[in-house]
């Protein structure tokens, strides 16, 4: 008799645990007042640096908005979920937050993970504002995916033009990191080079987390190209630059945000001087709003943000701007409104720079050609929006 009672108790307890643990989602329906905003992003694993920046940018924006009373009077309730830099887990987490019927979801940053998640968000008709830069993301026809930075298909052509017009290069060496980010950039770059009749004389794959670049620099040196395109993550970029300077490479080293960022300068020191490239949005952009943001970020989190911090920050202000325009919390309306919308800093200072989203969710805004001089990123030229 006692045992049966006990068993019933255990049964109830176990089912309660199971149900509660798996997020029965009953509470989501009554979340009347605060605005639930989930952020599914890389907080551990190889993507932790980018993901942490993205998250902290979001936290900063959410704190600012909440301090001023929230969006249309609703305070934002942020939930951060770790994908562990794994596409499968990211999908699971996205499914989990979608079960709570969110208004908009944020993240992730890894393109691979975005490509997995976006099927879910488009099915659920919930806008996903993310940090991935792979070209493929916006070519899949989802009506609910939005970028916070240039896709590789917009940034790489800008760079390619610079190789042809600015450097007048005939041959080029490519050093890329063999992950989805690096491979995507490299594939786009090879395509753009072919279109401009520039020969790729060395095509060198490196590993993420690689420490010793001497073999790669030796190969680049041996290739005798007119210019070198370096497309690796920040830390590897720094290591590559140090080795390149050591072995006395004089050929122009050209890259993207991941070669010219503050993080690279901090790590590579003098070796970064002379590096040039295209930056979509950087903490060093000669725009007061961006520099103001960088200062706030440093004060709040005690480290210098990279472009992912800015992406996260902007993502939240995109929600604010669109919602204030539509006047209600309607996911479908959000997506249709943001397509073709331009947000100007005059209307919404948090957007930092004027930006436009097209029908695919691609972002368009001004960008910069920069060079590192005296351990500082110096903007050489402002490249206007593509469709102005």
């Amino acid at each position: 008799m006692i045992t049966t009672q006990l068993n019933r108790k255990t049964f109830l307890l176990a089912s309660a645990l199971l149900a509660g643990g798996l997020g029965l989602g009953l509470q989501a329906a009554q979340a009347a007042d605060p605005l639930y905003l989930p952020n599914v992003v890389e907080l551990s694993g190889p993507g932790a640096v980018s993901g942490t920046n993205w998250r902290d940018g979001i936290i900063l924006a959410v704190e600012e908005i909440n301090a001023k009373g929230g969006i249309l009077g609703r305070k934002i309730e942020l939930e951060n979920l770790d994908t562990q830099s794994d596409a499968g887990i990211s999908r699971a987490q996205m499914q989990k937050v979608l079960d709570k019927n969110p208004y908009v979801v944020l993240g992730p940053v890894f393109s691979g993970s975005v490509l997995v998640d976006m099927a879910l968000t488009s099915q659920a008709e919930v806008p996903e504002i993310m940090g991935g830069e792979a070209a493929a993301i916006t070519q899949k026809g989802s009506k609910y995916i939005f970028r916070t930075a240039f896709g590789q298909q917009s940034s790489i052509p800008k760079l390619a033009n610079y190789f042809r017009d600015g450097l007048k290069a005939k041959t080029v060496a490519v050093v890329w990191v063999n992950n989805d980010f690096g491979k995507g950039g490299r594939d786009n770059f090879i395509k753009e080079m072919a279109a401009r009749d520039i020969k790729v004389v060395a095509d060198i794959s490196t590993e993420s987390g690689q420490a010793d670049f001497s073999a790669d620099v030796v190969k680049v040196k041996g290739a005798n190209a007119d210019a070198i395109f370096v497309y690796t993550n920040e830390e590897e970029s720094a290591r590559f630059l140090k080795e390149a300077r050591k072995q006395g490479i004089k050929t122009p080293l050209i890259g993207e945000t991941t070669l010219l960022g503050q993080k690279v300068i901090d790590l590579a020191g003098d070796a970064a001087n002379g590096v040039k490239g295209h930056v979509g949005l950087s903490a060093d952009a000669p725009i007061p709003a961006v520099q103001e943001f960088a200062k706030k970020f440093k004060a709040r989190f005690n480290y210098v943000n990279d472009h992912n911090g800015i992406k996260g920050y902007i993502a939240v202000y995109m929600i604010k701007a669109v919602t204030e325009k539509t006047g209600k919390f309607d996911s479908k309306l959000f997506a249709s409104t943001l397509h073709g919308m331009t947000i100007k800093p005059e209307q919404e200072p948090g957007i930092l720079m004027e930006a436009t989203w097209d029908a695919n969710g691609d972002i368009d805004r001004a960008s910069f050609l920069a060079e590192i001089v005296d351990n500082k990123q110096k903007i050489v030229e402002i490249l206007p929006k593509l469709n102005k």
Partner: protein
């Protein structure tokens, strides 16, 4: 109470209880919950396979993740090319069986840590092949939109249907593994683990059983991969890199190597528990690592071993209590 917990009746009751929970899950869980349980089931199968190789036959393998990967890629590529899922499923298992058999050969020459490193190297090589051989595997971009099977007109595309599909296949696979463990093979595997020299002298062809332990364990890993592919519908080589193999190893040992239910429990600690402990947020891995270290310290036979120990502790206590009781009775009688 303890008697009841160890009785056959309770075991059956408990099994029915779990079965009932699993069968009724879709009626009280949302998509995410179903996805998570399906993931747990699939990972459990992979761990079941490793348990056969490691837990029963005692052959250290750090390559189980690679076999899940091979299985997932075979099924992914074949079903994307229009091959029916059951065929792809069998091919996944078969290919992993063959590769596992070959991987078993080093185990005939070297043991323990050497074997661990050979399999670890193998697992990394498989990752590199998956990443670099773009013509075959689509490289780092991975496979997208892997279709969910349609079996005899039953479309398993929706989370609800797919969950039952996974539950069914996993049940069949588990029964298969159960059968192997209970067959003379299971006995031979244990003999191989506990004392290969003695086993050899009793006519056990340790060579063939070693290779079989690898091949069988790997094939089951391949089957898990064949379920993983339509479950996640997208994967890339990184999903199957070394961390997965190490995780599976942790799961088997933490759950309890060499026990049938160990892998299920181990997989639960790695797949379900992190969800329940979301409060711990980023610190989950730290807590998990500490728990594993403490568990290994006090009970290297894993959670199943802990349960056994708990039960035998109470039984012992009761027996000594009874003895004391008897002794008391006797002395009282003597006193009379």
């Amino acid at each position: 109470m303890i008697d009841f917990l160890t009785s056959r009746g309770f075991k059956i009751f408990f099994a029915l209880f779990i079965a009932a929970l699993l069968i009724t899950a879709p009626f009280y869980l949302r998509n995410f919950g179903l996805y998570l349980i399906a993931m747990w089931l699939v990972i459990s199968v992979a761990a079941l396979g490793l348990n056969l190789t490691l837990g029963y036959a005692g052959q250290v393998s750090m390559a189980q993740g690679a076999f899940v990967g091979i299985g997932a890629y075979v099924t992914g590529l074949m079903t994307l090319a229009g091959v029916p899922w059951p065929v792809a499923f069998l091919c996944s298992g078969l290919l992993c069986f063959v590769i596992g058999w070959v991987l078993g050969y080093p185990a005939l020459r070297v043991q323990h840590h050497y074997l661990a490193f050979v399999t670890l190297a193998f697992s990394t090589l498989v990752f590199l092949l998956m990443r670099n051989e773009e013509w075959l595997t689509k490289g780092i971009y991975g496979l997208t939109d892997v279709p969910r099977p349609i079996l005899f007109g039953w479309n398993t595309g929706k989370a609800f249907d797919f969950y039952f599909f996974v539950l069914g296949v996993v049940t069949l696979l588990s029964l298969g593994v159960w059968w192997i463990i209970r067959s003379p093979w299971g006995r031979a595997f244990v003999a191989l683990r506990e004392n290969p020299v003695r086993a050899l002298s009793l006519g056990v062809d340790t060579r063939r059983y070693t290779l079989m332990a690898f091949a069988m364990g790997s094939a089951i890993g391949g089957f898990a991969g064949a379920l993983y592919a339509p479950l996640v519908q997208f994967f890339e080589p990184n999903s199957f890199a070394l961390p997965l193999s190490l995780n599976l190893l942790l799961m088997v040992i933490v759950g309890g190597g060499g026990t049938f239910f160990g892998p299920f429990i181990g997989a639960a600690t790695a797949v379900l528990l992190p969800e329940w402990l979301r409060i711990a947020q980023g610190y989950y891995l730290i807590i998990y690592a500490i728990v594993v270290m403490v568990l290994m310290l006090f009970c290297p036979t894993g959670i199943m071993g802990l349960g056994d120990r708990f039960i035998s502790h109470f039984r012992q206590k009761r027996i000594s209590a009874e003895r004391a009781e008897k002794a008391k009775d006797m002395s009282q009688q003597e006193g009379k």
